[in-house]
C-alpha cells in the first residue's frame, strides 16, 4: 500500500522518463550505480524499476539522513528496504562495504551512488572506492550504470518543495571488473559509462 503510493508519488513528481538503453529489466543480481544530485534520486531509481525487480532492489543510503524522523525511518526500513550506511567514519563495527555485501546476499540488488554525496555544480565527483571493492568481491553481480537527469532541478539540495519538471532515468549496458584492472582505471571507466548516457 505505502509502496504503491510512494512509487506513484515519485513517478508523478519526477515525471520520470525511464530509458533502458543498454539492458532490459531483470531480476538477476545487479548493482545499479548512479550519479547523485538530489534526495529524490534513490527513490526515483527504485520507483522506475518494474515491480518484481524493485522488490529485490535495495537502495544504499546515508544513515544520518534517513533516521532523522519517524517517517523517513519507516520509509527506509519498511518500504524501500534500504541499506543504511555510516558515511562519516567507518569503523570495524560499522564498515559500509561489509554491510553492502551482506545486503546483497544471494538474491538482492543494490542501488548505490559512488560519488558519496549530492553534487550541486552539475559535474560528477570522482567515484569512491566502494564500487571497486564490491566488483572485486562479487564478480558474479552485473554492474549497471544509471544516469539521472534533471532531478536536481526538481528538488535541489537544501530545498523541501519540489518543482514538477520532467526528469529521466537511463539504464546503460552492464559492465564488469576486467581481469587485472586497477582501482582507479576501473572507477574512471565506470564514471565514463554513466556520463555516456547523457542525451544532449
Amino acid at each position: 500500500m505505502t509502496k504503491t503510493l510512494l512509487v506513484l508519488v515519485a513517478k508523478l513528481i519526477s515525471g520520470a522518463n525511464v530509458r533502458w538503453v543498454g539492458c532490459v529489466p531483470d531480476v538477476r543480481q545487479r548493482i545499479y550505480f548512479a550519479n547523485h544530485t538530489s534526495n529524490l534520486d534513490a527513490v526515483v531509481i527504485w520507483a522506475s524499476l518494474p515491480s518484481p525487480v524493485r522488490a529485490l532492489a535495495r537502495p544504499v543510503a546515508a544513515r544520518d539522513y534517513w533516521i532523522k524522523d519517524p517517517l523517513r525511518r519507516h520509509l527506509a526500513n519498511h518500504v524501500l528496504n534500504a541499506v543504511l550506511i555510516e558515511r562519516k567514519q567507518p569503523t570495524a563495527h560499522d564498515n559500509p562495504l561489509a554491510d553492502m555485501l551482506a545486503a546483497l546476499g544471494d538474491r538482492h540488488s543494490l542501488i548505490i551512488f559512488p560519488e558519496g554525496g549530492r553534487q550541486t555544480n552539475g559535474e560528477m565527483a570522482p567515484f569512491k572506492g566502494g564500487l571497486f571493492h564490491l566488483a572485486k568481491d562479487r564478480p558474479d553481480v552485473e554492474l549497471v550504470p544509471v544516469l539521472i537527469e534533471n532531478l536536481n532541478r526538481i528538488l535541489p539540495k537544501g530545498e523541501f518543495l519540489p518543482v514538477p519538471l520532467l526528469g529521466s532515468v537511463s539504464f546503460g549496458a552492464p559492465m564488469k571488473l576486467e581481469a587485472g584492472e586497477g582501482k582507479s582505471p576501473f572507477l574512471e571507466r565506470a564514471q565514463a559509462a554513466v556520463k555516456a548516457l547523457r542525451q544532449t
Binding site: R153, L161, V163, T200
Partner: protein, 315 residues
C-alpha cells in the same frame, strides 16, 4: 457554469466522431497498402496520431459534459503539463527554484480559479502584470544574478504561453453573448475544432501535395501547399459551422481565418523554440504527436485573439 447540451452540440460531437471513424478506416487501409520502410513509418505515426485523437476527443467530450468546471479543470491540467514541458527545456538555475514553485502551484491554479469565477478584470491581467512583477522579485531575492534577465524572461514566457494563453479557451465560457445564453460550450467546441482541424489539414495537405518548404530553418515539415490547403479548408469548415456559433456564415469564415492564421503562427513560434533548444518534440506524453505543448501550440496563439475578437464584436 451550466452548459446546455442541445441538438446542435450533438451534431458537432457526432460529426467529429464520424470524421475520426473515417480517418481510422483510411489509416487502416493505408497500413495494408504501404510497402516501403519510410512509408510504413509515416503510416504508423499517422495511426498513432489518430488513436491519440480518439483519446483527446473523449477527454474533451467528458470535460464538456461535466459543464464549465470540467473544462476549466481540463485546461488547467493541460496548462500544468505544458508548463512542465516548457520549463524542463528552459535552463533555469537554483535561484529560480522558489519562483518556479510559485509559478506552478500559485499562479497557475489562481489563473484558473479566476477563469472559473469569470473575473475578467483580473484574469486578463494577473499574469502579464502581477506575476510579471512578483516572480522576478522572488528570483532576485535568491541573489543569483547570472543570466538573470534571460532566466526571468523565459519563466514569464512559459507562463504566458502555457498558462495565460491556454486559459483563454475555457474563458470562452464566460462570455455573455446576447441571444446565445448557455450555449458557450458550442463556441468553445467550435474554436478547438477549427484550430485543430486546421493543424490536421495542414499536415494532410503537406504530406500529400507538399513540395515547397515554407520555413525550412524553423519547421522542415511545414510546406506552402500545406499552409494554403489547410488554411483554406479550415476556413471553409469554420464557415460551414456558423449555425453552432453566434456568427453569420461570413463572420464565421472570418473568425476561422483568424484562428487558423494565429494557429499556424503558434506552431511556427513554438517550433523555433524547439530548434533553439535542439529538440524535436516538447515531450512524449501523446503518442504520435509528441508532448502536450506540440499538440496545443496552435490553440495557445489563437485562443486570446479569438476570445477578444468575440468579446469586442459580439458582447
Amino acid at each position: 457554469m451550466k452548459l446546455k447540451i442541445d441538438s446542435q452540440t450533438i451534431w458537432l460531437v457526432g460529426g467529429v466522431l464520424a470524421l475520426l471513424a473515417v480517418a481510422s478506416i483510411i489509416g487502416w487501409l493505408l497500413s495494408l497498402r504501404v510497402k516501403n520502410e519510410a512509408g510504413r513509418a509515416t503510416v504508423q505515426n499517422l495511426n498513432a496520431r489518430i488513436r491519440a485523437w480518439w483519446l483527446m476527443v473523449a477527454v474533451f467530450g467528458l470535460a464538456m459534459a461535466t459543464g464549465g468546471i470540467g473544462s476549466v479543470v481540463l485546461f488547467g491540467l493541460t496548462s500544468f503539463l505544458a508548463l512542465r514541458e516548457f520549463i524542463t527545456l528552459t535552463p533555469t538555475r537554483y535561484g529560480d527554484h522558489r519562483a518556479l514553485f510559485w509559478a506552478f502551484f500559485v499562479v497557475l491554479p489562481l489563473q484558473y480559479y479566476l477563469i472559473a469565477i469569470k473575473w475578467y478584470g483580473l484574469f486578463s491581467i494577473m499574469i502579464p502584470v502581477y506575476a510579471f512583477l512578483i516572480l522576478p522579485l522572488r528570483s532576485a531575492a535568491a541573489g543569483d544574478c547570472e543570466k538573470f534577465l534571460e532566466r526571468t524572461a523565459k519563466i514569464q514566457w512559459g507562463l504566458m504561453i502555457c498558462v495565460y494563453c491556454v486559459s483563454y479557451v475555457p474563458a470562452l465560457l464566460s462570455l455573455e453573448i446576447p441571444g446565445y445564453g448557455g450555449q458557450n460550450g458550442k463556441l468553445m467546441f467550435y474554436f478547438v475544432l477549427v484550430a485543430q482541424i486546421s493543424d490536421v489539414l495542414q499536415y494532410v495537405w503537406g504530406k500529400t501535395l507538399g513540395r515547397h518548404k515554407i520555413a525550412p530553418t524553423v519547421s522542415p515539415n511545414k510546406t506552402v501547399e500545406g499552409f494554403f490547403g489547410g488554411v483554406i479548408c479550415a476556413t471553409l469548415i469554420g464557415a460551414e459551422l456558423w449555425w453552432a456559433t453566434p456568427f453569420t456564415p461570413w463572420q464565421s469564415a472570418g473568425m476561422a481565418l483568424a484562428i487558423t492564421f494565429m494557429g499556424f503562427g503558434g506552431g511556427l513560434v513554438m517550433s523555433a523554440i524547439k530548434r533553439d533548444r535542439g529538440v524535436k518534440d516538447y515531450g512524449n506524453l501523446i503518442e504520435g504527436h509528441g508532448g502536450v505543448m506540440d499538440r496545443i501550440d496552435s490553440l495557445c496563439f489563437a485562443a486570446p485573439v479569438f476570445f477578444h475578437l468575440t468579446r469586442y464584436f459580439f458582447t
